[in-house]
Every structure is written in C-alpha cells, then in structure tokens.
C-alpha cells in the first residue's frame, strides 16, 4: 500500500544524521568554504557513525542489516543539509564501496570491503566525469584496452573528490564490453593527480583532475570481472543520492529564508506578511517536498532491483532545476544580506548550482 512516511529505522537515521549535521557540519561549513579546506576530523566522525560498515555483510567485516538506497539517501539529505562539500567528501568511500557491493566478484568483495569496516576513514573515491562542455556519462572518452594481460587506461577525468589522498580510485572507462570500472591505486604508475580544481561552489571539497596515461591495471581490478558492472544502475544510484543532497541544500536555504522573513521587519511588519515573499516560501516548501518524493521513488525502485532510469533521470533534472530556484529565492528573500557571505544562503546558492553538472559524485 502506497505510503510516504518513514519507518522507525528511517526516522532514527534521519534524526541522528540531522543532529550530527547540525552539530558537526554546520559549524564548519562557513570556514571550510572560505578557506577551501576540508576538515579531516569531520570525515573521521562520519566514519565513526558506522555508516559504511552497516551496509557491508558480516562475512566481509561489516554488520549489515539490509542495504537500502532509500536509507542511504535519507542520510545523504541530512548530511548535505549540514554542508554539501563535507557530505560529498565524507561519503566518497561509497563511490568505491557501493560498486563493489553491487557488482564486485567474490574475491573483490573479500579483498576490498573489509577496508571500509575499520575504525578510520578509508580514503577512496571514483573518477567518472570528464572535463567537457557536453559531458555525457554514456560517451566516456577514457578508454580501457586489454593489452598483455593488463587493462590499459587512457583519458582525463575531472571532479574527482579526494583524489590527492585516495588509496584507490575507481576509474570508469569505455572498454570492449561497454562501460567498465577499475580499482586503481592512488599511486599507480600512469595515474597522475593534477592541481586542485576550482569551482564556483563545493569549495571545501578537494576536487582534482586525474590523468591516465597508459596506466596499466591488473585484470582482477576490473569490478565484476568478466561480467563487469551494471553501469546504468550505478548511475541511477548516484542520481538518487545527488537528488537527496539537492533536497538537503534546498531545505537548508528554505528554512533559513523562512526564519529570516519572519524576523526581518520592513514597512512596519515582518517581510513574510507580504505575499511576494510568502509565496516564494510556499513554493519552496512545495518543491522541496516534491523533489524529495521524486528522489525517494527512484531509490525505492532501485531497492526493488528494478530499472529506475526514467525515475532517476527525471528526478535528477527536476531536482537540479528546483534547487536553483529555491536557493535563488533564499538569496532574494534576504536581499542585500543574502548577497554577503555572512549568511549561508549565498553558499547554498553556489553549491546548489552544481547539481545540473554533477554525475557520479555521490552514490546511494
């Protein structure tokens, strides 16, 4: 029976993560953004919540109850509500862990998954995007060729989170059998991490260009071995997660603007007494809910093992558009105060504009 309320487990995840995001991320957000610094400490604290090990079966060192895209995105919304840059950084191990859980061979699971069950943050990431105006995840230009019993990777990747410190980078490339993913060591020969990239937002998140030049990788590093990965499903899992983060940012901006509008007095009354302000808030509230329902549906479908390409891409498009609108309203409602960096709405405005471009930077 159709229902749109959280169960007890999900309520607990939501509450815990909201509190955590409030306590840990919100305090760091401004300073991290201004100084373009990701506090290592925050990554460790997220790890300590056990969010990685809780999705990993016991046989690989975890204590999985039931892995659920829906539960993961409920968490992702809250963490992004705290701060998008820190959330993306802290969850970046999932970028390697989830594909292995989803498609890895037994050997790969045994080898790699225990790393994520330790006490400290296991720095790992994935390289999917490429620096092109018309980037399309289905037309990767990075290639994987089998040569002499090795896979040889060539190409340029951008927006790779934490590439500077990642023990492994999961590199997506076009191979003979379609889209493939390789677990490449961060210090592998032929893989070079470029200068840190600069973007309008996500300033606290270390993002890098990664160049692969005849980078040789053992074939057992190909996720899923011969069978390979379900690239489409991984993209959809990623979209669901990014949608939830877009909801988090939008909700943050909406809540802040709402409180501001109730307190700010102009012409003798709170500005929220004016329909032009009140209706922007009403629309934001409505769209935040609509975005969340779309994201949930994509994740729900993915949890049932069904193809969710339509749901994920529609949700992604919708969430990217609406986040731009809602965070723009946030700045607009604060007016001049929204334009200065003392108030977080300008950061959410900048961060909120990333979603239209992002693919694969988070995964459920």
């Amino acid at each position: 029976m159709a229902d749109f309320s959280l169960n007890e487990e999900q309520k607990l995840i939501q509450e815990t993560m909201r509190e955590f995001a409030q306590e840990e991320f919100r305090k760091l957000a401004h300073e991290s953004d201004e100084s373009s610094t990701l506090q290592e400490d925050a990554l460790e604290k997220v790890c300590a919540l056990g969010i990685f090990s809780s999705s990993i079966p016991e046989e690989y060192g975890g204590h999985e109850m039931e892995r659920s895209a829906l539960n993961t995105i409920i968490m992702a919304e809250e963490l992004a509500w705290g701060d998008l840059s820190i959330a993306l950084g802290a969850l970046s191990p999932l970028l390697m862990m989830t594909p292995i859980l989803e498609s890895g061979t037994e050997d790969q699971k045994k080898k790699w998954l225990p790393n994520f069950c330790g006490e400290s943050f296991y720095a790992s990431t994935a390289a999917l995007m490429e620096p092109r105006v018309s980037f399309d995840p289905f037309a990767l230009q990075t290639t994987a060729e089998e040569r002499g019993g090795k896979a040889v990777l060539n190409g340029v990747k951008c927006m790779v989170p934490l590439a500077d410190r990642a023990r492994q980078i999961l590199v997506y490339a076009k191979g003979a059998s379609g889209m493939e993913a390789y677990i490449v060591d961060g210090d592998a020969a032929g893989l070079s991490v470029g200068e840190r990239e600069k973007y309008m937002g996500l300033r606290a998140l270390p993002l890098f260009t990664v160049t692969l030049k005849d980078c040789e990788v053992d074939l057992d590093r190909r996720v899923g071995g011969e069978k390979g990965i379900d690239y489409n499903r991984l993209l959809n899992l990623s979209r669901a997660s990014l949608c939830a983060m877009a909801v988090g940012i939008s909700r943050a901006s909406h809540e802040y603007a709402l409180e501001y509008a109730k307190e700010r007095v102009a012409f003798g009354e709170p500005i929220a007494y004016r329909q032009s302000i009140a209706f922007m808030l009403a629309e934001s509230a409505m769209e935040v809910d609509a975005m969340r329902l779309l994201a949930w549906r994509a994740a729900w479908k993915l949890d049932r093992g069904e193809d969710a390409t339509r749901e994920s891409t529609l949700a992604k498009r919708y969430c990217a558009d609406q986040t731009m609108k809602v965070t723009d309203y946030g700045v607009q409602i604060l007016g001049g105060h929204g334009y200065i960096r003392e108030h977080p709405v300008e950061r959410w405005f900048r961060n909120g504009r990333s979603f239209a471009a992002l693919e694969g930077l988070a995964i459920a």
Partner: protein, 386 residues
C-alpha cells in the same frame, strides 16, 4: 513505510476506468464539447452498467488514494464527463468526508453537487451571505441565498450548500447542508457557458425560504469560534487531492497523445541522454513528465494522509497548487508542440487545454492554495498574511 506501490484494488479500479474511458468517454468527448448542455444518453447507459460494481468513484468505503487514482484515470478520459459522472460529484465527496453513518445511508446513493461560491464572494468563503436559520417549530433549516458556479447542479440530485448560521460570527458559523432535489424554494436560475468542461453543467441556484430537515446539516450545528469551521473546510482537505488528480489526468492525456504523435513522426523520448543530446521537443517532453510526476506524488501523499486520518490541509494544497499549474502549462505546451494540428479542434489536445484550466481555479485558485501553504508553514493567521 515508504512505498510507491498501488494496492491491487486501486490497480483494478484503474484498469476498469481505463476501459470506460476508451470505450465511452473518448468516443463522445468532442461531441459534448461542441454541444454544450445537451442530454448525454451514453452516461445514463453507463450508470446502468456500473450499478453492479458498488461504485467506482466516491464510494463510501473506498480509500482516498484509490479515489485519486480513479479520478486521474477518468480525467485522462475526459474531465467534463468526469464531472458529470453518474455516481455523483464534489457534493458526494463532501458528504463522504464528514457525514454521520445515518446521513451516509440517507444521502449516499444520490448524486450531489456542491454550492459554495456566491456572486459577491469567490475564494472568500468567509464572506458567505447565504443563511440557514432553524425554525424551532418545525425543526427545519430555512436556507436563503444565491449560489453560483455549482458544478453538476443541473445533473445531480442533491446539492451541498454552504450557509452561515450567523454572519457576525464569521467562518465558525459556516456550515454545510444537504438540499435535496425537489426541496421547496430551490431553483436553478442560470446555466453557464464555459471555456472548457462543457459536457459538465455549471449552474447558478437561488434558495428562497428553502426548507430542509434538521438532519440535513453536515457536521455539528454548534458554532465553535475556536478551531471551528471544520465541518465545511475539512471537505476541501478531502476534495482537493481529487481536483489535483483531475489536472494530472488531463495533463497526462495531452502528454500521452503528444508522445504518440511524435512517435509517428519518428521522435522518441530518451531518458538517458544529457541536455546536449536532446532536441528542443524532447527536452520539453522530459520537463513535462517530471512536472507531472512531481504533482502526482504530492497528490498521492495528501491522499494517503487522509486514509490515515492525519490532517493534510498543507499537503492537499501543495498537490492542488502544483497540479493545477502543471496541467495548465503542460497542456499549453502540448498544443504548441503539435503546431497547427494542436490548435485544431480535429484533435482533443486543444480541448484538454481548455478543460484543465478549471483545475487551477475551482476548489480554490492556485493563489489561494499558495496562501494556505504559506500561512501554515509560517504559522500565520489570516490577519497576518492576507
């Protein structure tokens, strides 16, 4: 628990309605759009046919989500005909939402329209001037006033009339009353000619010392100045998801038709392509699909809350506001995409555009919905946020 699966009952009802739409509604859609206010024998036949099914829509024990699904499906067929549906109209929804078991038994079988708006008040229901006075001798209510924009007032038997027990007490004194067919002093005074939903009649009625039994009041006759107004206003919480579903159904009709037509021209809609690989028309269709889904999920949520007995006026208004606006824009876009053919009355898209516009107007305009949402999220009274 989060679940997007429809119940087997809902799916079955949806399928049944789909068949009716294809076999009956779509075939007479244009005819009764062109011939406003004419008799529709096909609907009477349908009423006969439906008798054994225990009510497809507005049934007594039907869950609200199923009603929303059925309404979307019917409206996909034809919104005007949906509003002339032989099993009743908004008045039935109102009765189902607040009636006592006795009243449900008395009024449940009859069809009912709803009379709220007056010539001097549109969205401003607090300003209702139609009065209901109790005659202590006969224990009857005496209704006096004029109502306009009554959907199905000609077709349906009963009419649920909003009237005030005491104008000086404002909203709290507004109650709704079932005025049965043939009640003395109930008179139909005007049939409107409309932009769309022409197969459904919209009428004006005058109540002139119209006497009805005491038991015809819906909800309590008590005037609660605090937290009152519930009997009447609660109807909206129950009916708005249905109105939203109407907009969604019509928009889907237009979108389905547009996609089918484009497919005949060799244009399909890819879900896995980025903006740089889409044509302008493909992107427009994808944007419309996303908007439609957003409206639908907001509407479903409001309906599931009704099922649980959770207060849903915020969520109901969100669904209605989103769906009404979405339907207006989606149908308009479809007309545009189909060029001169979209604008032609040879196809139904132009009709769907005219029809669905009402969903952003009746049961509270889009602007009124935004006001309701804003007041709730801000915690403001009507005086604070006008």
């Amino acid at each position: 628990m989060i679940d997007f699966e429809l119940s087997p009952e809902a799916l079955k009802a949806q399928e049944r309605v789909r068949t009716i739409c294809e076999n009956v509604f779509r075939k007479i859609s244009r005819k009764y759009d062109e011939n406003e206010h004419s008799e529709m024998p096909e609907l009477h036949e349908l009423a006969e046919e439906l008798k054994g099914e225990g009510g497809l829509r507005g049934g007594m024990n039907r869950d609200f989500l199923t009603n929303v699904i059925v309404t979307e499906e019917l409206s996909w067929g034809d919104l005007g005909l949906t509003l002339a549906w032989p099993e009743g109209g908004l008045g039935n929804a109102a009765i189902n939402a607040v009636a006592t078991p006795e009243q449900k038994a008395r009024f449940g079988k009859a069809t009912a329209s709803m009379a709220i708006t007056e010539p001097g008040c549109g969205s401003d229901t607090s300003n209702i001037t139609t009065t209901a006075k109790l005659d202590p001798e006969t224990n009857e209510w005496i209704i006096n006033g004029e109502k306009i924009f009554i959907t199905g007032g000609k077709t349906y038997d009963n009419v649920v009339v909003w009237a005030t027990l005491d104008r000086s007490l404002g909203r709290a004194a507004i109650k709704s009353f079932v005025v049965e067919k043939g009640a003395p002093g109930r008179e139909l005074v005007k049939l409107e000619h409309k932009l769309g939903i022409r197969s459904s009649d919209t009428v004006a009625m005058v109540f002139n010392d119209c006497r009805i039994p005491y038991e015809n009041i819906l909800g309590s006759p008590e005037i609660k100045t605090r937290g009152g107004f519930k009997g009447a206003m609660a109807t909206f919480d129950a009916t708005r998801p249905g109105v939203a579903a109407m907009g969604i159904g019509v928009a889907r009709a237009a979108l389905d038709f547009t996609k089918e037509t484009l497919e005949k021209e060799g244009i399909t809609i890819p879900y896995d392509k980025g903006m740089h690989d889409l044509s302008a028309v493909q992107k427009a269709v994808l944007d419309m699909e996303a908007e439609l889904e957003a409206a639908r999920l907001l509407t479903w949520r409001a309906a599931t809350m009704l099922n649980k007995g959770v207060r849903n006026s915020l969520e109901a208004s969100m669904g209605k506001a989103k769906a009404g606006r979405m339907a207006t824009l989606v149908t308009q876009r479809c007309v545009e995409i189909l060029g001169p053919c979209g604008y032609s009355r040879d196809w139904l898209v132009e009709k769907w555009m005219r029809d669905c516009k009402i969903t952003d107007i009746f049961e509270g305009t889009g602007q009124i919905q935004m006001l309701i949402i804003a007041r709730q999220i801000l915690g403001y009274t009507r005086a604070e946020l006008k």
